[in-house]
Symmetry: D2
Subunit: 459 residues, 4 copies
């Protein structure tokens, strides 16, 4: 098959080189966006008088036909035609004759592929944002139920019990992380909202085009200010990959917690059978491998981000073929986060919280911050109060005593302000209830949080 | 020196462990932010009645004194005091007595260090944005001069001459890249605009604090919604590191071009002596090593981003000491981009454009897109026009002929539409002038671009 | 289809979860290795009396049949069977009945998949090493030709002309880089030479197996010392990915130089038409996009390495599903380096060196190190000699004079040791010939280098 | 202060540019290596007659004096002298007069800095290997003790209990990982065993030098084959950074397990007070933050590796200033792994294993693989045996029964081969003892492992 640019060449492409440079295997995913962009471009060319009105109609009809072929799977992809753009153009010429060759007037593949990727990412960020919302909704529902149930579990820092928290509060921590992700993808979408069409190869075009019209037709609110920038910019793709990487980091934290919580030793949750797998050798096993995969897939999200940044490092303007490497990374990260969000939503919606177990596992010593606070409120400088209670904890540990079993006399040896009344503070529910600062874990505060969360979900 | 938490411990810290966990060597850079945050916290505690009014005043006075010590270099840093927070607290107690211990009421180092990093990054994103603006201004000035001079140079794709462009236009491509960076750091600043104070260790505090007041006092417009999230979130730091990485990618592209342009073979620019260095062995050398370093430093910017993402991967909530690793990466990326922007500004402001050389180097064949466009405007489908001109170029190359030397007869063999008039189109200035599409390189368009660029600089 | 482990489960897998955890889409590439490993395992089980001799023969025959089905494309892959291991096992049971279920005796998928990856990587490192050798051979041939032709080109540091070198010498620099890669993959192969079989799930097996025999049968010279390590180790895969990344870095440096050399401005080489492509809009373009893609693909090689390192970070022993993410990275890096090596070999074998142009582009000033050396050999401390010659170069530049045009009197003003004889040293061929230190660019030294290079190729 | 290369320059360096390009702040760490290399170089120059014998002695004496100044801290570092090489050279001239300027004969900073880094890394890989051995020794000691104690703990896959293992066996898994690291750094050292001296700027030198002698004097067994490669190669540094990254991955896995094991919920170990820290707010806390930091520092190790790979991507030959960015990454990774190994050794040597707790936590169901194996040994195809036992486990779970409490009749309903004798197999010690395959967890096998481990330690 003749190349689109063979005029200047005498030698034939090497088979290996052809396979190496062909991008069809992956850029076929942009087929629909390419047709959409071309239809708008053809209409603009006709409106602007660059091509004839009838020529324009013929081209648009041909492209509509191709859109159908793509939809019903009959489009004849040909690897030797290098990429999706030339595949579609060649098919167009087959369908409508040489006039199809006029479609590429005032356009280069440089601005064309940039356009396709912008269009793809605008749609995809929408999908990702919806998938984030679904996971947020699942977390919201579970949090609402657990606020109702009043379930308390140990809160951890350094994976050591720190202070008890409401399960609802802990779940909402992920809600807000995801809300930042949602907002971040909104910004990515905003970055994608710039049409590169009209930049042609790198310098703009001499045809009297109207790229503002085309942009509007395609739903863009802005053009690039500079044609050289328009064809060499991949910031928007980097931002998308970064958004995916950070989202992946969040999901990996959630996944890690679910894996730890589902151990026999913690025993806080049970995965639904639908989201666990067994072992080929150990009959008793029920493995949280959906969560592990969510965690493990962070690797590819980070790798894709770093991969594209590496491509861009030291790349001269304007377009270079290196940029062809952007697409597989973008597709892979998009597929990955969509699948991970989906599965995370499934896990969270179906797992069982073992409420009693959570409550039982709250260790008495994780309540003693309130003893120190109590002493501080009696006027003991906090640092001294802290040291005093630390000694008390150590003494109990050494003596094998429980705090709640200490006599007033024993307590008094540590501080005159430590009495039975102080020890009575050490009830998990009471400890939780006292953390009434804004954003704190007290039930009233968590109820407020839920209200705000609900508002987010309505946007 | 006694530890802030030694009450519960019997064994002494190991010397190696102490050195390993001490963060003072780097978190001392947060000293001023820490004092600022503590002053606001102390005032709030007094306003809310958590501590006495006089106690509050005493603490604030002590902290002001520490601020002066920091400013005049007399503050006694002590590594054995673990970190900057405890260094300052211990100094406070030295200065004002045990009442200093009340400062840490209703606060944990978990929310405190998060606050300090938020404050640091808000200041630093401002600095980075100003430095970006300075580089944009330098590019703007050079572009304005070169629009005036009308300098044309070859425009490249694949580092092969593609179509000529105005030097002003090429320079502005970087202006707009940087403008996206500027805007991105604005978003980073927005992400940093959330006060974590009040979250305490992870669950909130039982003291009747007023974190909304403290936040306002410190210039924040929002609180975190959730205390667990508040102490475990490092999204804002990741965003900063990503902003630096992408900015670094841009600067590396600029640096690469400057290195290539300054070769003897291209010869487009001369570095000012002030921004070049020589060789210890080759007397003739004048090396663009400032630009090379700007390019090379991209490595550390990428590395810092990946580093923090790695830290976050699979980290359970809420706080873990792993997060201590955030700071050096942030400081290093901040220092790096500030230095790179500064040096890039210096390079761009002082380099010499060799205008004549640029113009001379525009190759005749880089003008032939206009021949194909011309044929297309005569009704030849663009694909055919392209092939025809490609053959013409090949023929000239094989025959060693220049396009401008061809006779009408010779031209006519390729197409009846190719005549002397067509060849007359092949003047670089004319080619540039015809690229009048929005964002294109025609002088009028570039003048518009400059106008818009000026508006950006006024923000 | 029933799961291999469904005994313990009541709920059905979720469709999304099943798709998410299924690895068949990529681990089918390990099908042949899986069969090979299973045949050896089955033989061992029979030899050791764990299964009957006839059972063993039946199983081996079934596996041989599967091997044929894989070869002729008739093997029925089924995604719902999770992974390649279970696909093969289920097919085996279909073919030979329930006795096929005995194959998995004394084995777990944990050691099985580790085995498959070891086998795959042993074969693949061989392929990569052969492909490296092919590229080395191409470089060797071109270097030998160019040593013959005596072609000299400017040698660069900082992309500024430094000192002239033989083209043969420059090409051989890549030869030696690649030789290190070749050796590095030998070490990777050595790291892969450890059989994990016998580790079973993580603890070893209670069956009287003989993993030493199986290992020998499969060409391994060692076992893992520890069963827990055997199933959780992915060092060998990381080493492979690192080898690919560093090889990619080398190829990116070569590609960058080819891109720069093929510019009109340098003009040192011409790409064969077979390894260049044109533009869809600019008829004159001949783009080195094979080289650009080689350069750009470095991004994915780095990304894959970082991706797997990220997966391993903080992963508890022994096996976790996160490790399933190893394979796609390994396959992608393997495919990428094989393709890049292949294409680089094609580029290097077919490109045209423009010898005259290279020689002409050697700038006079790149020869002056020899003036400084000359002065040093006359007893002038090198630092002074360097400064003196530096001034001379600057003076010529300012006056627009060529060194070779200076009179004895003019030279004498810079140093009494600078006379016409000294200036006569400034012949590129002579400058090159004088660099006779071992490893230097003098023709005799390069001839020695070629001899040593030939020896490497014979290994 | 005059620059070493100012002859050719007229303008003064910009203050910012000077600060930006100065490497003294970090390359001063190479001072000793630089002096060592220079002494060998000076001796060679004298031996070869390039400089006079007396000149050589004078220079060597001056360098020895500088070595002392460096050792006692009196060496006058000057940032304006760019880098450590020029700092030392200038000091030499101060000490011995202009003859000091002869030291740089037949050498460039390009080969000089490469030499210094080779020397540094040869020493540092030795240190790292010793530190690895120390940690291996600690693990060996603890494993030997715990083999003696016969301590059994749950073995995990997917962090779910899989099969019990000996604690000694689990500890040795890390021993072998580290052994691969030790071997890997031996290969790094081998890669560093190549002297770049004699390459000069990039092309070799015209002086009659004897780099083979110099190399031998400095402990190298090989030279680079090619001068261009010699100054542009940083493979050895990448290999070092990769070795550190993979070692970091291993340490992060160990650290993760220690963090999990030290939770109240697992309760398998207690950190020594010396390796734990407390909380500034929660008096009861004892945090494993040394282990968390070991885990977190993996981020910077990965970042440094990626950083240098990024620097190398697309860098033309021979030397570029970008390569200056190699050093800080190397130093930081070296410091980090040395500190992490040291601290990990301290943690492992001092932590307390809670043997009773480990044993108690072994869940009955983690023993049932042996039931399936038992059935398989009776002729039931393993897949059927597996399913049968899986149903048994589920039934027990649903009925709230313990396996050991089932009657013969109840068991018989699942399989005729399941009787009390079969259930008697379900003793953790017996289960462990049966895993006698090579590398398995049976005490005899672990004793063999220890013997082999001891042999490694003797190397």
């Amino acid at each position: 098959m003749p190349k689109a640019w063979e005029g200047r060449f005498t030698g034939k492409p090497d088979v290996r080189a052809e396979a190496f440079t062909s991008s069809l295997a992956f850029d076929r995913r942009l087929a629909v966006q390419d047709v959409t962009g071309s239809i708008a471009h053809a209409r603009m060319l006709a409106r602007s008088g660059v091509i004839g009105r009838q020529e324009g109609e013929l081209i648009v009809a041909g492209l509509e036909r191709i859109r159908e072929e793509l939809a019903d799977g009959t489009f004849p992809f040909r690897r030797e035609a290098e990429d999706i753009h030339l595949n579609i153009e060649k098919r167009l010429v087959e369908l409508i004759g040489p006039v199809g060759g006029k479609l590429h007037t005032a356009r280069s593949r440089n601005d064309q592929v940039a356009l396709d990727l912008h269009l793809y990412l605008r749609e995809t960020t929408d999908e990702v944002r919806e998938a984030i919302r679904r996971l947020q909704r699942a977390l919201f529902r579970r949090a609402a139920e657990e606020l109702e149930s009043g379930t308390i579990l140990p809160g951890y820092t350094h994976l050591q019990q720190a202070q008890p928290v409401l399960l609802a509060h802990h779940l909402l921590a992920y809600f807000w992380m995801l809300d930042r992700d949602w907002e971040r993808f909104r910004q990515v979408d905003d970055s994608c909202d710039r049409s590169p069409l009209g930049a042609a190869a790198l310098a703009g075009t001499s045809f009297p085009v109207d790229p503002v019209w085309t942009a509007g037709e395609l739903g863009f609110s802005r053009l690039y200010e500079n044609s050289v920038d328009a064809v060499s910019d991949r910031d928007f793709a980097c931002e998308f990959l970064f958004g995916c990487a950070l989202l992946g980091a969040h999901l990996s934290r959630l996944a890690e917690e679910l894996v730890i919580w589902s151990t026999r030793e913690f025993g806080f949750i049970r995965f639904a059978d639908a989201y666990a797998t067994g072992s080929s050798i150990m009959p008793q096993k029920k493995n949280p491998d959906t969560a592990e995969l969510v965690r493990g897939k962070t690797g590819r999200l980070y790798g894709n981000l770093l991969g594209l940044l590496t491509v861009l490092k030291g790349l001269p303007l304007a377009y270079g073929s290196d940029l062809q490497e952007d697409k597989e990374k973008v597709f892979d990260s998009a597929d990955t986060v969509l699948a991970c969000l989906d599965v995370a939503e499934g896990i969270c919606s179906t797992l069982e919280f073992r409420r009693e177990r959570m409550r039982e596992m709250v260790d008495e010593t994780s309540l003693v911050t309130d003893l120190a606070d109590h002493l501080a409120s009696k006027g003991v400088p906090f640092r001294e109060a802290h040291a005093m209670v630390g000694k008390l904890v150590r003494w109990c540990e050494e003596e094998g005593r429980r705090l709640s079993s200490l006599t007033t006399a024993e307590l008094g040896e540590f501080s005159i302000h430590l009495d039975q009344e102080a020890v009575a503070l050490l009830d998990p529910a009471a400890v939780v209830a006292r953390r009434r600062s804004p954003g704190g874990t007290a039930p009233g505060r968590v109820a407020e949080e839920l209200t705000r969360a609900r508002k987010c979900l309505m946007v």
